[in-house]
């Protein structure tokens, strides 16, 4: 399933041989991936494995050290900010903590991208549009609230409404269920499925919530230390022979990690004795 010979037209979004280095640390190590149009691709992996950095490359919020990113066959990673602005209107990005603007109301947050890219003449139609977007995520009636007065789940739903304000072709979700209770997490999962079904958008979801991944994914890609180690549908991932994949999906700690924890405990006990603090 992992194809190093990916071509620019193999998907709506294509990352080819991406390498990203921060200082001395290689976060993405020759990653190639083609995202299929109209499908939901879920990227899983342990914290710090490079999945969020990879997703930020897809919308060119990060520039690759090496490699290319293509959107509908056109290279975008080298474009100037002004050229990127038009392309970004075809994307919606739902940030991990929502990233709603604190100083603006829910209504103002949602019209922000519209104000920036469309000439508004009919304000009544704009009210209706905001109402419709909020209704899609079950938040109609919250137009005049400020983000500070919303719960974590509500913020994510409003962020989702803002992400789809310009009717994007691709919606990117960065850990949409992190920090939410199981019921709210499931509501977010249902929303992602609903948006994909009703708006026919291509969804890319970064998560480490396996329950969520199995529910929403057409395809699951697993990252490990900046590389793709597994790629396939939910069944393939469930039965993947790689032990790292199995450890991750079962939430099982490895023997090596356990040994390190034991060693850490022993050190603590022997290094610091109560008399050391007298």
């Amino acid at each position: 399933m992992i194809r190093p010979d990916i071509q620019p037209h193999d998907g709506i979004l294509v990352a080819k041989n991406l390498v990203k280095v921060f200082g001395q640390r290689t976060v993405l190590d020759d990653v190639s991936l083609a995202i299929e149009d109209g499908k939901t691709t879920v990227i899983i992996g342990t914290s710090g494995c490079g999945k969020t950095v990879f997703m930020k490359h897809l919308i060119v919020l990060e520039r690759p050290t090496e490699g290319q990113v293509f959107f509908r066959g056109n290279r975008i990673d080298h474009l100037r900010p002004r050229q990127l602005a038009d392309i970004r209107t075809q994307f919606g990005f739902c940030f991990q903590m929502g990233a709603l603007f604190d100083s603006l109301t829910v209504f103002e947050n949602i019209i922000f991208p519209i104000q920036q890219h469309r000439k508004i003449t009919d304000y009544k139609a704009l009210d209706e549009l905001v109402k419709h977007k909020l209704a899609l995520v079950g938040m109609d009636g919250y137009q005049n609230q400020y983000p500070a007065s919303l719960s974590g789940g509500q913020k994510k739903r409003v962020a989702l409404a803002r992400a789809i304000a310009l009717n994007p072709q691709v919606v990117l979700y960065d850990e949409p269920t992190t920090g939410l209770d199981p019921i709210t997490s499931d509501i977010i999962n249902e929303l992602i499925l609903k948006l994909q079904r009703e708006l026919k958008v291509t969804s890319i979801v970064v998560t480490h919530d396996m329950k969520s991944a199995y529910k929403i994914a057409d395809r699951i890609v697993m990252f490990y230390h900046g590389k793709i180690i597994a790629d396939g549908n939910a069944d393939l991932i469930r039965n993947h022979p790689n032990d790292l994949v199995q450890q991750f999906i079962e939430g099982r700690v490895s023997e090596a990690d356990l040994a390190a924890l034991r060693l850490g405990g022993t050190k603590y006990q022997t290094q610091f004795l109560p008399e050391d603090f007298k």
């Binding site: 602005a85 970004r88 709603l100």
Partner: protein, 269 residues
């Protein structure tokens, strides 16, 4: 040790390069923003926050500067029998140096700190990345209105500081020290030229630009977490303060040279 020093030096050069690019990008956006009527509401909002709300504190600063100058200088001038010339000393010091510099320092503390904290918090909560992800240039949307407001309103605030400085000095001199009011103003009018007032206000444009650029840059590049935002605010204030003093020194030298060369020629016109 040499390696550590070399590394620090390289980081300093890198940082200066990034700051220069930030200034360049901001400067390009400022002219575009000034030409677009749809960005005017953003500029008005910032003008209200940065300018209007700073008026009381800047006025208080100016008033105290004038009053303190009067108290400090009176004794020395009175000893020489020159107390009626107190006005020229106070007013020239206020309009030329102390009014502009102290108003700018006060703005660096009030406005610079707030700008860095606001943009720094937006940075660490990914709000700046959100602006960018929606196809809007964050420098154009967030930096340009703030820089424009500072550029336009710092000179205006300096006028307030000067005015209150002059009045503060006058009241202490005339009411407390019983100096003749007419003589006070006559000597002031002889000593203070339009050049002094004009250059003091003119410097405000650059002080305002420095405050806004440094504060916004520190906010945009601040490290994550509460500590990162706090450090950025401190660095922004220190940077603004030193820049104001350094710019003031440069202006003192340059404007003095211009004055000596061209100002006497005005009588020929």
């Amino acid at each position: 040790m040499i390696f550590a020093f070399f590394n620090k030096w390289i980081r300093g050069v890198e940082n200066f390069g990034r700051f220069s690019r930030f200034i360049w990008a901001s400067s390009k956006c400022i002219s575009a923003t000034a030409m677009q009527p749809r960005t005017y509401p953003l500029i008005w909002t910032q003008m209200n926050t940065i300018g209007v709300k700073s008026v009381p504190v800047v006025m208080a600063t100016g008033a105290f500067v004038g009053m303190i100058l009067a108290v400090q200088a009176y004794g020395q001038l009175a000893a020489m029998g020159l107390e009626e010339r107190l006005g020229v000393l106070i007013n020239i010091a206020v309009v030329k140096e102390l009014g502009p510099v102290l108003a700018a320092v006060m703005l660096a503390g009030r406005v610079g700190g707030a700008l860095t904290a606001e943009l720094g918090t937006m940075n660490v909560t990914e709000q700046i990345a959100a602006v960018e992800s929606m196809g809007t240039d964050p420098i154009k949307y967030l930096v340009a209105p703030r820089v424009l407001s500072c550029l336009l309103l710092t000179p205006a605030l300096i006028v307030y500081a000067d005015l209150l400085g002059i009045l503060g000095g006058y009241f202490v001199s005339v009411i407390q020290f019983k100096i003749n009011s007419g003589a006070y103003w006559d000597y002031s009018a002889m000593g203070v030229e339009f050049w002094d007032i004009g250059t003091g206000i003119f410097k405000g444009i650059f002080f305002g630009g420095a405050i806004a650029m440094i504060s916004c840059y520190k906010g945009f590049t601040c490290r994550e977490g509460a500590q990162g935002v706090g450090e950025a605010c401190t660095e922004a204030f220190v940077g603004c303060f030193i820049s104001i003093l350094a710019l003031n020194y440069v202006f003192a030298v340059v404007l003095d040279a211009i004055y000596k060369t061209f100002w006497p020629l005005r009588s020929l016109l």
